[in-house]
């Protein structure tokens, strides 16, 4: 028992079971050395209580009280309506801008061939409307601009995804894009003027054709009535 310091320390700190405690107490009745050892350990524990820790201010800056998260129910109806209107306006403005800026294939109204018109049985007055087809105006310039725009869009996407160097280059790409957009605007206006001119010419031509056809029909009918046309006899 005298050499079993682990048991003694368990007894001093009262961390031994009842059976062990009774054994140690029985031993202490007869062992002066262990009794003195236990007394010495208890005294030093008493001395340890004298070790003060100086007061110190708190080093922790408490978190600020949390604000409850905002839910849709907390937002007034008028604010939601205003937000919805803003979103709608932004969308409409974006759409309008897209219509103005993006290049579109120029469409030209083309008359359908007379055989097709005859097959449909459409009235002659509706000729232009029913028989119209559209076809893009072939233009090297359009293809060139479209390719440049695609290339720049790709560069912008890369810049937004990529690192700092690409982002730095993005400003140059943006300037180039702005220049191209201006070119496209100018080109679109030019194309519109051309379209109007072509449509006007086609309109006039169409009217003359219709008139001629009408006259020709009348002449044919007149000739047939007078027996001038052999087939109508």
């Amino acid at each position: 028992m005298c050499d079993d310091r682990e048991r003694l320390i368990g007894y001093v700190y009262d961390e031994c079971d009842g059976h062990e405690r009774r054994e140690i107490e029985a031993h202490l009745e007869t062992c002066h050395t262990c009794r003195r050892e236990i007394t010495g350990l208890r005294e030093v524990r008493q001395d340890l209580l004298a070790w003060d820790v100086p007061d110190t201010p708190s080093v922790w800056r408490p978190f600020a009280p949390q604000r409850a998260p905002i839910t849709w129910r907390d937002v007034p109806g008028w604010m939601l309506a205003a937000a919805a209107s803003l979103v709608f306006l932004a969308g409409a403005a974006g759409g309008a801008a897209t219509q103005m800026v993006l290049p579109r294939a120029a469409a030209v109204v083309m008359p359908a061939p007379p055989a097709q018109i005859a097959a449909t049985g459409a009235p002659r007055e509706g000729f232009a409307g029913v028989g119209m087809t559209t076809s893009p105006v072939p233009s090297e310039q359009v293809r060139d601009l479209e390719l440049r725009l695609l290339a720049m869009e790709q560069r912008l996407r890369d810049a937004s995804r990529g690192g700092d160097a690409q982002v730095i280059n993005a400003s140059a790409a943006t300037r180039e894009l702005a220049r191209s957009i201006e070119e496209l605007r100018s080109w679109t206006a030019q194309q519109n003027d051309m379209n109007f001119a072509v449509q006007d010419s086609f309109g006039k031509l169409l009217k003359r054709t219709n008139d001629l056809e009408i006259k020709l029909t009348k002449v044919s009918e007149g000739a047939s009535g007078a027996g001038l046309v052999p087939g109508k006899q």
């Binding site: 320390i9 350990l41 005294e43 003060d52 820790v53 100086p54 080093v59 978190f63 949390q66």
Partner: protein
């Protein structure tokens, strides 16, 4: 209503920062005491306390509750203290002022039953204990601190220090025995000094 540590930890983990504030308020003083007694320096002890709570806050989600929150906090604190000692390659020191300032004593809170002589004696004993503890090997010093000042069980200390239960008991016994000898020697030296002073004055 006072919540348990476990309840506060659960709430803090769920994002309730005020619960973590409450945990800090509850444990800041014991953690500071542990750091101060380990390092012997007030300023560094404060730094350790701040870092310990920051680490605890960041690691809350990883705290599985297998141990007590306080045990986890003690472990973080002790690791930080060890890091500091290793980094600085310095033994813990005790900031012992040169002598005891009478003005300081007059300003100090003295309980009605404690005379100025008692207060002086208590302070001197505090410094003596701090000095004797600082001279102990680290493993003995930490074991004694966790047992005496933080009330951990043998098993909890073993868990903190990653050592067998028997090693904890041995460290405690050896540490207490060394402290006892040093403090007894100091007391006998003081007694001799007082006797010499008394003899010279008479």
């Amino acid at each position: 209503m006072t919540r348990t540590d476990e309840e506060l930890v659960a709430r803090a983990t769920a994002g309730d920062q005020d619960s973590f504030n409450q945990l800090v308020a509850r444990w800041e003083r014991p953690i500071y005491a542990l750091a101060y007694r380990t390092l012997g320096r007030e300023e560094e002890a404060r730094d350790v306390v701040q870092e310990a709570f920051l680490r605890a806050y960041r690691g809350l989600k990883g705290f599985k509750g297998e141990a007590k929150f306080s045990s986890w906090l003690y472990r973080i604190t002790l690791n930080l203290c060890r890091d500091w000692i290793r980094r600085e390659r310095r033994a813990p020191i005790v900031q012992v002022p040169e002598g005891v300032d009478p003005v300081d004593l007059a300003d100090a809170q003295v309980s009605p039953s404690e005379s100025v002589e008692d207060l002086v004696g208590r302070r001197e004993m505090s410094q003596a204990v701090a000095k004797a503890m600082a001279e102990l090997p680290e493993e003995q010093r930490v074991a004694i601190m966790l047992k005496e000042y933080h009330g951990l069980t043998f098993q909890e200390i073993a868990d903190q220090l990653d050592c067998p239960l028997s090693t904890v008991k041995t460290r405690l016994y050896q540490g207490l025995s060394v402290l006892r000898r040093r403090l007894e020697r100091r007391q006998s030296e003081e007694a001799s000094l007082r006797r010499a002073q008394w003899e010279s004055s008479s």
